[in-house]
């Protein structure tokens, strides 16, 4: 996500608003899923 919003690198192909919103939503969802796995493994 950080690379995809880098203007010098991506030029006019950098992320638009919708792609950024969906991308960060995925990051949040995967972080929550990873946290859930860690919590279940530690038995908390």
């Amino acid at each position: 996500m950080i690379i995809a919003r880098n203007r010098p690198l991506m030029g006019e192909n950098r992320n638009g608003g919708l792609a950024a919103a969906l991308g960060w939503a995925t990051v949040a969802l995967m972080t929550a899923a990873a946290a859930a796995v860690i919590i279940s493994l530690t038995g908390a």
């Binding site: 995809a4 991506m10 969906l22 995925t26 899923a33």
Partner: protein, 273 residues
């Protein structure tokens, strides 16, 4: 009949036969590649096993997750693909070149974990192939797991990108069997519709564990890396740019637009498969 010798004019070469235009289906097939293969690879045996477990335990109860994960997957894969198109570099190369020391160290740890997870995933996939063949009474599962592993390894080492791409694309057609199953299975479409549109979350450990498993197997990080690596390989195999992938910025405006459009179609088709 008047010949060129009679008229004194230079002989006019016969009109070259018009090159046969590929059919529409053929053009669509040629457009598909890294996106289709990456998307189809998400339906790996371990993924199917997870989905089957979800279905066996909760029926259509987890179907609503598809409505959420599909647009997210499509977006993320398209973003990954676009970074490869724009830069001509894979995700790993970009991370190495553009992140600082600490970020690179974090990514390195994550990649080591990913390598371990991928190794286990590949082992699970090979075992699942063997089990599938055993179910068809084709012989012992270990033998088919071994054959599948050896065949894939040989293909990677001996076949070039184009050959591997063709084989994988053909294998993607096997996913059409899921469509065929719909004609034989008695599907309760009303329940499917309701469970897809209205989430019914059960606050039990089993349900939540499967929910996480479904999310994890659907949105797999290896797909991000594979998408970019596969696209870069495809760009390398193109006629333009020699052995180096030609980034969008170094293409003509029309060429860049066409490549972006066809790649997006490829990725979205793969994600829907």
């Amino acid at each position: 009949m008047t010949t060129s010798a009679d008229t004194g004019k230079a002989p006019v070469p016969a009109a070259a036969p018009r090159a046969a235009q590929p059919s529409r289906l053929r053009r669509v097939w040629d457009t598909l590649g890294p996106g289709l293969v990456t998307g189809a690879s998400d339906d790996d045996p371990s993924g199917i096993a997870t989905y089957a477990q979800a279905g066996a335990q909760f029926g259509f109860g987890l179907l609503w997750t598809a409505l959420i994960t599909l647009p997210l997957m499509m977006a993320v894969q398209e973003i990954c693909d676009r970074t490869a198109l724009a830069t001509g570099k894979t995700l790993g190369e970009l991370a190495r070149a553009h992140f600082g020391q600490w970020a690179r160290a974090c990514i390195g740890v994550l990649i080591v974990a990913l390598v371990v997870a991928n190794t286990l995933n590949i082992a699970a996939d090979l075992v699942a192939i063997g089990s599938g063949m055993a179910l068809l009474h084709a012989g012992p599962s270990w033998l088919w797991a071994l054959i599948a592993g050896a065949a894939i390894t040989a293909l990677i080492f001996l076949g070039g990108f184009t050959r591997i791409q063709q084989v994988f694309k053909l294998l993607c057609l096997s996913l059409l069997s899921y469509v065929a199953v719909l004609f034989f299975a008695a599907v309760r479409w009303k329940t499917v519709g309701l469970d897809t549109l209205v989430p019914h979350v059960t606050w039990s450990r089993a349900y939540l564990s499967l929910l996480v498993a479904v999310l994890g197997t659907t949105i797999s990080p290896y797909l991000f890396f594979w998408q970019t690596a596969n696209r870069v390989e495809e760009m390398r195999a193109e006629d333009t740019g020699g052995d180096s992938p030609l980034p969008l910025a170094r293409r003509t405006t029309l060429g860049a637009k066409g490549k972006t459009r066809s790649s997006r179609f490829d990725v979205f088709t793969g994600m829907r498969s």
